[in-house]
Amino acid sequence: MSSVIIENITKTYEKGIVKALDNVSFEVKSGELFGLIGADGAGKTTLFRILTTLLIPDSGKATVAGFDVIKDLKQIRQIVGYMPGKFSLYQDLSIEENLNFFATVFGTTVEENFELIRDIYVQIEPFKKRLAGKLSGGMKQKLALCCALIHEPKVLFLDEPTTGVDPVSRKEFWEMLGRLKERGITIIVSTPYMDEAKLCDRIALIQNSKILDVDTLEGILTKNKQNLFAVSSDNMYQLLKDLRAYTDAVSCFAFGQHHHLQVKTPTSSDEKLRAYLAHRNHTNVSIETINPDIEDTFIKLMQDA
């Protein structure tokens, strides 16, 4: 059964000049953990706002748990949880007061659904008397998530919940999403962290207001092969410039300890590249043939689009 159905949704701003969503269609199954992966301004937030009834599309149709996003506004607002990308809390209320407020609005109590938020809430609980306006960036994200969850929604929309969240908390956060999924909650989450894509059941790649693909991560990786080297040397900044100037290069980007070089010809031999880098006086050169991961793939798709 599908929990969210999106059919040919189009949305424009500024009297049609700016296209935010261009004929977007896909379905999210009930109980699925679904990722929305796309660059800044790709249209993710607009889609979230339409699905949570905060914005009306120009054309197209969408339903959430069988309710129509245009006609059944009241029902939808009761059953969805929404964590907007931009900060949504009352700055002049404390952590505790914000949470109580959201619980009351939905006719429930914090105690009743405490199990749902426990893992994240315990991290900010020692500061529960502190005003939201005085929390660090990541602490605010954690509070906003608790507020979106406190009424046990059937469908949860999370717009970049882990932006600004540190690596340890990000891990814990995704473990928590896994447990929410086990309780049968359908989750649609957008993220700028490509490594989080592998934690989703399926993902949609969205670019310039259009859906590029919807599939499992493996499916997307299989469809998008590329010839890729991971290269490092003693002078990484110079290396980046030299690799970009290499004749066989398609593109080159920094990936932490290595640069990923995409080349036109197969990567069966690295002799030519080795000679080129030696000629450019690089020392301690390491070259490895690698398979593209989701970040490589997304960069490639962004460039091709």
Partner: protein, 248 residues
Amino acid sequence: MLNEEIVIKTNKLTKTFGDFTAVNAISFEVKSGEIFGFLGANGAGKTTAMRILCGLLSPTSGEAMVAGYDVYKENELIKKHIGYMSQKFSLYENLTVRENIEFFGGIYGLSRKELKEKGNDLIGRLGMEKEANKLVGSLPLGWKQKISFSTAILHQPKIVFLDEPTGGVDPITRRQFWDMIYEATDAGITIFVTTHYMDEAEYCNRVSIMVDGSISALDTPHQLKEQFETDSMEGVFLKLARQAKRGE
């Protein structure tokens, strides 16, 4: 462009809010031309420390010199000699790109003539001629961050402080942003940057990791990985952050 000149020096720098110690006696030095990564878990105290170093918040105790000026007595001078890109707010959404550049350049003390010249030059370099007269609010986040960074270094400060400049920015733009950071260091600007992307920690000359208000480790990425017996900065971070007591 590393040299031995020290541009930031703190000694037991501390900030308390009521009975809560947000920054707990941190001591460290940053050399001119360095890319210094200032890492730590949420709530560790990074933004608070950074705001003190930028002359925006006064410390409770301890010492700090930034660009040769004292954070207690000379915070107005500090503001003139540094650039700052804040975590939350970087540009006015309802001003155009050009207006923002002129506004922030003006704050840093550039003359009207300099603003025009540098503003045009900057818009050209960013390839934003078409967007120059658009409202900033209508632009993608990554673009805003690039404009904001360029604006923060328009007056050629000695040091620029960047508080999570790439948070939420897409993979390509994030890397373009780092290209800009490298260019700035080529021009002799020292970079002080926070990030939660561990691949970006690799691009720093040295990295400090804050835990519960204190600096728990400070070294080159290479040395840190050896010290903590792991092959990635993520590994270093996970090991250190587990020691955190606050919030448990």
